[in-house]
Amino acid sequence: MAVIVRFYGALKEIIGERLELEVPSDGILFVNFISEILQKHPLLSKYVVVTEKGVEVKGVTILVNGRHIVFLGGEKAVIRNGDTIDILPPLHGG
């Protein structure tokens, strides 16, 4: 079973509603996982970037299996096949 990534709002418009990606059987660090997505979908870099400082987000929330990624190790969280990642956009306009 692959990793399922679900995008919402403006992110859905850039990438689509969901992606399914196979990762190595022993998992992959989130920083490497998101780098792969950024390579395929460079417009995502408006909201998420990977720099020498690591993964940086602008108002974006990332949940892994329903929990915020900062509680699972942040960019060093290990993503495994079968995980569901939700990426929520920032709120604008109000």
Partner: protein, 586 residues
């Protein structure tokens, strides 16, 4: 100006330079005076409680600083509460030469306060008893009017304070809606303040370098035009609705779900089709005040929170129904966020068979409107609901289904999606509130660490506390397309033209000082770590997405927050923190 309703005495007071330097205006002065003057443990409805109505020092002198803060010990939470409204009141207050009004005591009869160049007096106004906010505004059309509706008179614990409400208004009406401060005015028997200022700008800015002032105004207006106005959409904060619905954080069915398949009926694009006018506050070019007309219905100032909390949260997806609810609540003078939360709570109890002798189903607009009237006039079940969600839930033995923090009902962002908001809600100084730290905005870049998540909350709380001394409008920095730093630097320069000497670091420290002062007020009233907690529903996975906040994760966040704040593990500011912020002598 200090107004004692017990003795009908009106006096003027000069604030010392050191207090102005330390707290500036708006929230800062209100918080300082509240801490100094409100005795711990008093009943918010007692004559001993005081209400503080303040402008900021930039009002009228620089554009957009039009907001008025109303602050008091809240009858809803029993804690510090500040609530902000647009409209013309702050500008007229400054034009009358005042930075604020302190209301104290209690009148035997219903009174109005009138402030003009010719007279400053209290007068009896029994004929205004029971009048709606619109009716009072209409009666004093030539004035800036701050008033309460029937709900405030009846001490509904979530009655608001209303500025410039009238039919076909020429300036944007404002609402200080949260925390029940309208009920404080009601408890003191003060129905309204009508005000017309008289000073010109040049009379209020003696000694200010005109060319510097002009340059700052020009630079500021350019940023507003280029960066802010494109983000305003049709006005208000309705554009947020679409993002919330798509991100599945839109409260639906008392926060049991996060979106509704018909949400587009209430999105800003749908409202834009029936928008007829946009108006603005004095001195502001933004025009965020919306007037909507659809069929025979017309409404002013419909906002995201109102639409979300009384729309999908009650399974209402009909614009006209929302307009009817908005008009009813604004006329009676009740907070739309709290009301939406309470109506959803009652409906869920009925659905679960937990409420005897009362029936209501999701989406029953007429029944909801009737219940709103019953609440405003304290009839039947409405008399219990008028006590606010927390008290009503205790009476009805149904605390499992409430969505509030420290007695203030949660606004319209489900934090199980946007987790940063959990800390923002739990540590907001007036209870479950989103405006102290709107962490879900895009303006700040953060790393994917717990430390950055916590730092963001603290930074925004401090920054907003500082901005609300001025009082800057929430619609402006928060909506900027670029980070608001440049705008804040201009604000500081504006402030310094009035003789103050702030830099960015000092300005942020000012905000931190105020945030600790409001915490001290709450600590004095008994608030501790146990109160910085979430409603039970947020600790359970949401049935549509599985999103959850575990208690362990939340506690981790709170521990780090207290450390960053310099508070004890029980949430009390440490002595060294107070010394660093110049609060130890309080």
């Amino acid at each position: 100006m200090r107004v004692d309703l017990s003795s009908d005495k009106i006096e003027e007071e000069e604030l010392t330079d050191s207090i102005v330097e330390k707290f500036i205006g708006g929230k800062g002065l209100a918080a300082y005076l509240m801490y100094k003057e409100i005795k711990p443990g008093i009943d918010p409805f007692s004559p001993e409680n005081k209400l503080f109505i303040f402008a900021g020092p930039l009002a009228f002198i620089y554009p957009t600083f039009v907001r008025t803060v109303v602050a008091s010990k809240s009858p809803l939470t029993g804690l510090f509460c500040d609530s902000y409204a647009g409209g013309s009141f702050a500008v007229e207050l400054r034009r009358a030469g005042y930075i604020g009004i302190v209301i104290e005591g209690k009148s035997d009869k219903l009174k109005c306060l009138k402030i003009t160049r010719e007279e400053k007096r209290l007068f009896e106004c029994e004929q205004l008893r029971g009048k709606t906010t619109y009716e009072v505004g209409e009666l004093f059309r030539e004035y800036s009017v701050l008033t309460i509706g029937p709900a405030g008179e009846n001490r509904v614990r979530f009655a608001g304070v209303y500025i410039d409400w009238r039919r076909n208004p020429t300036t944007r009406p404002g609402v200080a809606g949260r925390g029940g401060l309208g009920a404080i005015l009601g408890s003191k028997n003060l129905k309204a303040i009508v005000l017309k200022g008289w000073f010109r700008v040049d009379e209020l800015t003696k000694g200010v370098d005109r060319s510097v002032q002009r340059d700052l105004i020009d630079r500021y207006l350019k940023i507003i035009e280029e960066d802010v106005m494109p983000g305003i959409g049709i006005g208000g904060n309705l554009p947020v609705f679409k993002v919330s619905a798509e991100a599945k954080i839109l409260p639906t069915k008392n926060f049991q779900l996060g979106t509704h398949e018909l949400w587009r009926e209430l999105a800003d694009e749908a409202w834009a089709k029936v928008l007829v006018n946009r108006i603005t506050c004095p001195t502001c070019p933004v025009k965020c005040g919306t007037t909507i007309r659809e069929g025979g219905f017309m409404t002013e100032r419909i906002e995201y929170e109102t639409v979300a909390m009384n729309g999908p949260n009650l399974l209402i997806l009909d614009r006209r129904a929302l307009m009817l609810i908005n008009n009813t609540l604004n006329a009676l003078g009740m907070d739309t966020i709290t009301t939406g939360s309470i109506l959803a709570f009652v409906t869920e109890l009925c659905e679960r068979g937990l409420l005897k002798d009362y029936e209501i189903s999701w989406g029953e607009v007429d029944s909801y409107v009737k219940l709103i009237y019953d609440t405003a006039y304290r009839r039947g079940l409405g008399d219990i609901l008028a006590e606010g969600l927390a008290r009503a839930a205790k009476i009805l033995n149904a605390e499992e289904y409430v969505l509030h923090i420290k007695g203030l009902e949660i606004p319209a962002y489900d934090p199980r999606g946007v987790v940063g908001m959990t800390l923002a809600y739990a540590t907001a100084d007036r209870g479950g509130d989103h405006l102290r730290a709107w962490t879900v905005g895009a303006e700040v870049t953060t790393k994917l660490t717990l430390e950055d998540l916590v730092n963001l909350t603290k930074y925004l709380q401090d920054r907003n506390a500082a901005l609300w001394t001025l009082i800057a409008c929430d619609n402006i920095p928060s909506n900027a397309i670029r980070p608001p730093d440049e705008m804040i630097r201009i604000y500081i320069k504006m402030l310094n033209t009035l003789g103050l000497n702030y830099d960015e670091e000092g300005f942020l420290k000012l905000g931190e000082r105020i945030y600790n002062l409001t915490r001290l007020f709450n600590v004095r009233e008994g608030v501790r770590r146990k109160d910085d907690d979430l409603p039970p529903r947020f600790y359970k996975p949401r049935e549509d997405t599985g999103w959850v906040i575990t208690r362990e994760d939340f506690e981790k966040m709170l521990n780090l927050y207290y450390t960053k704040r310099g508070w004890s593990s029980d949430g009390v500011p440490l002595k060294e923190t107070l010394e660093r912020l110049g609060l130890h002598d309080l």
